[in-house]
Amino acid sequence: MCTVCGCATARHGDGHAHLHGNGHGHDHRDHAIDFGEGLAGVTVPGMSQERTITIERDILARNAIHAQANRDLLDASGAFALNLLSSPGSGKTTLLVRTIAALQDRWSLAVIEGDQQTSLDAERIRQTGVPAVQINTGKGCHLDAHMVGHALDQVPLDAGGLVFIENVGNLVCPAAFDLGEDARVVVLSVTEGEDKPLKYPDMFAAADLMVLNKSDLLPHLDFDVEACRAAALRVNPDLPILIVSARTGAGIDAFAAWIEARAALVGKRR
């Protein structure tokens, strides 16, 4: 159950929904949390006069409250959380599988997978022996902090813990939603074009690291790495950039080292 809103609205993949944290020992790791069912408010008429109500609140205030609850939970447990963002097909899951292999013996790992449909990614992660929770967003194009809060209830969180949150593949919408993560990593693959940081600046402006993936394909493409780097730095002048091939493993050690340095920076280290 949500400690923020007290809801238990998310349905599991097999159609059941219920409160969590009430002491029963039911295992959720094998099926997805489904947020596809719509939120429909109910109108309850009352009598009052026409008037103006001043609100002055951030539209994402509710997300911000959930994000802070996630941050508090992560900080209290000592676990470090990374939000992985990219377009579909950039190789996030392959990158994760490689990174898990590099960090598995030093960290207690868990993965939260976000996709509109299927548990395919969570199943791939579980084959590495790491626990994975699949969130299905239904029609949703991004993860929000509320969904991630439910998923965090289901992964082991402790000091020396590292939680990867693989967002829905989308270079636009996920940028707006703080999940309470410690750091954001945007993954761009060399098959996508070097101008993507300029075309989708919100995502790159909000990132703490850019991973340029599929570098093994560079000999076959016209992709200009330096032009891509310049585009990314124009949007985010301080953005560190790592060149990686999740397929061959090149650059994975540097990515793993960045994660460990970042975790140490916020006081969460193995």
């Binding site: 509710r62 402006a205 124009r234």
Partner: protein, 113 residues
């Protein structure tokens, strides 16, 4: 289209207001959006009627005030207008301009009855 989620969040704020003061319907919702923010006004307007259908905000109008983008250039010290997040400084052409305004995403007020 995350604008659907944003309108759902607006409805949640409206519902929250109704727990503080009773009203039967909403005739107008006013938003303030930054020109450099994450939401596209046209997309918000496009999905507004569909997302509010069946909620307390069904039938409400939507007004969107746009806050222009503004930044501060550490190279020349000027406050400058920004049309895009990553624009160079129009005074010194520096590329380090820090956005200072235009990232708003707020519900300002609403008219209810």
């Amino acid at each position: 289209m995350h604008e659907v989620s944003l309108i759902e969040n607006v409805i949640a704020l409206v519902e929250h207001e109704r727990t503080k003061s009773a009203f039967a319907r909403v005739s107008m919702i006013r938003l303030r959006l930054g020109a450099l923010g994450h939401a596209e006004p046209a997309a918000l307007r496009f999905c507004f009627a569909a997302v509010t259908a069946g909620t307390i905000a069904e039938g409400s109008g939507l007004e969107i005030e746009i806050v222009p983008g503004e930044g501060w250039c550490p190279d020349c010290g000027n406050t400058v207008a920004l049309a895009q997040r990553f624009d160079a400084c129009p005074v010194c052409q520096g590329n380090q301009v820090k956005m200072t305004a235009g990232d708003d995403l707020r519900v300002v007020e609403m008219e209810v009855a």
